[in-house]
Subunit: 416 residues, 2 copies
């Protein structure tokens, strides 16, 4: 039997206003009716994993300066700031669900490959649980300072491989299989179940009015996959009366999905597997080109997205679009988010830069109703921010001024 | 007429559960009945400043590993994580109130001296308001990378003085007076009004059961002053039936309050001003010693705390204590907070290190009921974290291991 939309919307609202437990307070488990992979004949506290109910407590915000920047009307444009999660990124949504399944199968070791946000989240959940060891595989040098700090501080075993994220991803799969470690990368289907709640909160925050576009950065494509499921299921069940189009934004230097979707024109199909063969061919081509992903947006610096098949399905079902943006466009967009009093890491700003690209190219008009997802906290990568603002070559640079310790000279400098 | 405790507690709870506006949602303005410096004959949205209701949405948490570390029973020990504010520190509590007053007096320029958290918060509020220019005075080189990134990104005018925080503090007062800029340092009484709500949420989170100790790091002593007021007022009005003792924790390298309180034994007095003269004498002595504050906990690296008089009053009224801890004790305590799945910046961990010192020295016993305030987010200062974990000389170091891109060698390393 399909879930009843009106009853559930009321239940979710009620849990939010009168939480009876941390599972009602959690922005993930509040929607547990649609994440139903666990037995419900037991006490929830014996089953569900949560960071004291703190994960997923986000909602969409209007940001007028950013709206103006991307060329949309300010009441038709929202950003949902998933950096406002316990470990500073959207990953906490999925980890709550992934750890729940890990505990269901009695895992005492978990692992992931990570550009940094996944590892921070996994390490924090493992520390919270107390009896689970975390193993993190990272490419060397391509993890932001904030994310490395978190991963070490939460006590995970951090393994830096002399290679990039794609190497780490290959390694973690082999090592986990060999050593019987529970794998918590986004190919873990339960993690994607948790990430569906990003969309539920977005729709709830819009009072179930459906936007035209849902825009997110494209890295390993876990969000794209989760968002596809989170939209098509409620559509089928009557929670919403239309489907928004998913827009995935790649960085120019890590644009595998863009190439596959827009150049190779590979599309998902229910009836044959030819598309999957074409992806494999394309990946072989990438190897022959010796392609290495490279972008300032380290969270999406991924050459071979592990969720590519599921993401293609999400794009197929929502008539989605894929665009790429330059590092400069990403950093400019990031600065505007800051000027609006918010803040995000570089990868997140790809959402904003992507929407701007769509309006500039006339693909969408100013009346389009768009919601972008900001995936990670500004403080995850302070180096990128400081470098941007210190260089006056950047359009929205805001360099500090240095003055001697002399009040007259300071007044003189300020009055200029 | 005094406020009615039971009616107000109910009103605060109701606003939290059924917010009618962002001012009910805000963890500062939800308690507006006790922050009554604005006219209430107008629409709240014309008067109050808020970051969309996001500031001050914190509460105390139990952290069992930290409890064990400090030597208290885990159900008698809480930490309130003020890093979970929009700009990552407790400062957002006070800025909401300070900006409200700035707008009441039609200020279009605001300024502060800052070790980084105040400037981040002030810059973000200014960006949110849109029509207020922010001027930030910083000592050179002694601001953490995260805080500098935020201040620049939110678009504040950042002025780096060739000097330390105490120089910046002196400068900002002179410049603001000269140029007619509204001063938003913690000597601003309205900011302290906002910071009172840290205590209201703490008490509410404990269901108005009063702890024996409230412990906070001591820098410019704005929190100490605000906490004193936030405790003594409700005690007088019957919200609580006893007063907790305030414990202020200095870093050894920035221990002015400790010296004044424990060595010089200077105490607040209602009847004379001698104590104030003694402070001035002591400050002269500091100048003669050419004393410069120095600690890894940059947020409390302050030699001449601007709120010292008010803080002495808070200590007097709550029979408070002052202790100092070393940078090593601070960093070890910080690592334990991380192992518990939380995270904080170095200054915050002084709260934890201070409680540990009190139990070790037998000043408090294991049954003491203590709440510590973690003032800032872990990601504010990732450098300190990484340096700690990379050095195996540190007790709780968790260095990353480097391995070649070779699965057999990685398995070998992991099985060791």
């Amino acid at each position: 039997m399909n879930p009843d939309p009106e009853l559930l919307k009321e239940a979710w609202q009620h849990r939010k206003e009168h939480p009876q437990s941390i599972y009602d307070r959690s922005g993930v488990w509040r929607f547990r009716d649609l994440l139903h992979f666990y037995p419900d004949n037991k006490d929830l506290s014996q089953i569900l994993v949560s960071m004291d109910g703190e994960e997923g407590r986000t909602k969409p915000f209007m940001l007028s300066k950013v709206a103006e920047y991307v060329g949309l009307k300010s009441n038709n444009f929202y950003l949902q700031f998933e950096g406002d999660n316990p470990t500073g990124s959207f990953k906490d949504n999925g980890m709550a669900a992934g750890f729940t399944h890990a505990k269901m199968v009695n895992a005492n070791k978990v692992a992931c490959a990570s550009t940094g946000n996944t590892s921070s989240s996994m390490a924090a959940f493992a520390a919270n649980e107390g009896d689970i060891n975390a193993y993190v595989f990272m490419g060397s040098g391509r993890i932001s300072i904030g994310k490395l700090a978190q991963t070490l501080e939460y006590g995970a075993n951090a393994i830096q491989i002399l290679g990039d994220f794609d190497d780490a991803m290959k390694t973690v799969q082999a090592v986990s299989k060999e050593m019987g470690i529970y794998l918590l990368n986004s190919l873990n289907a339960y993690r994607l179940e948790g990430q569906k709640t990003i969309i539920y909160r977005l729709l709830e925050g819009l009072k179930w009015e459906v936007p035209d576009l849902v825009v997110c950065p494209g890295g390993n494509l876990g969000n794209t996959s989760a968002f596809g499921k989170a939209l098509t299921e409620p559509y089928k069940w009557g929670f919403i009366d239309k489907l928004p189009r998913i827009v995935v934004v790649n960085a120019n230097g890590a644009n595998t999905l863009d190439r596959i979707y827009n150049e190779e024109k590979i599309r998902w199909s229910y009836t044959d597997d030819l598309w999957n063969d074409k992806i494999k061919e394309f990946y072989t081509k990438l190897d022959e080109e010796n392609f290495k992903a490279h972008t300032i947006a380290s969270a999406i610096e991924i050459g071979k997205p592990i969720n590519l098949p599921k993401a293609l399905r999400a794009l197929y079902e929502t008539k989605g679009m894929v665009v790429s943006v330059s590092d400069q466009e990403i950093l400019d967009a990031k600065a505007i988010v800051g000027r609006n009093g918010f803040g995000c890491e570089p990868a997140s700003a790809a959402s904003v830069a992507g929407i701007k690209k769509l309006t500039e190219e006339g693909i969408i008009d100013k009346d389009t109703f768009a919601v972008g997802i900001l995936t990670g906290h500004q403080l995850k990568d302070p180096k990128a921010t400081i470098e941007y603002h210190k260089s006056s070559a950047n359009k929205f640079a805001n360099p500090p001024i240095e003055v001697p310790n002399d009040i007259d000279k300071i007044l003189e400098a300020l009055r200029k």
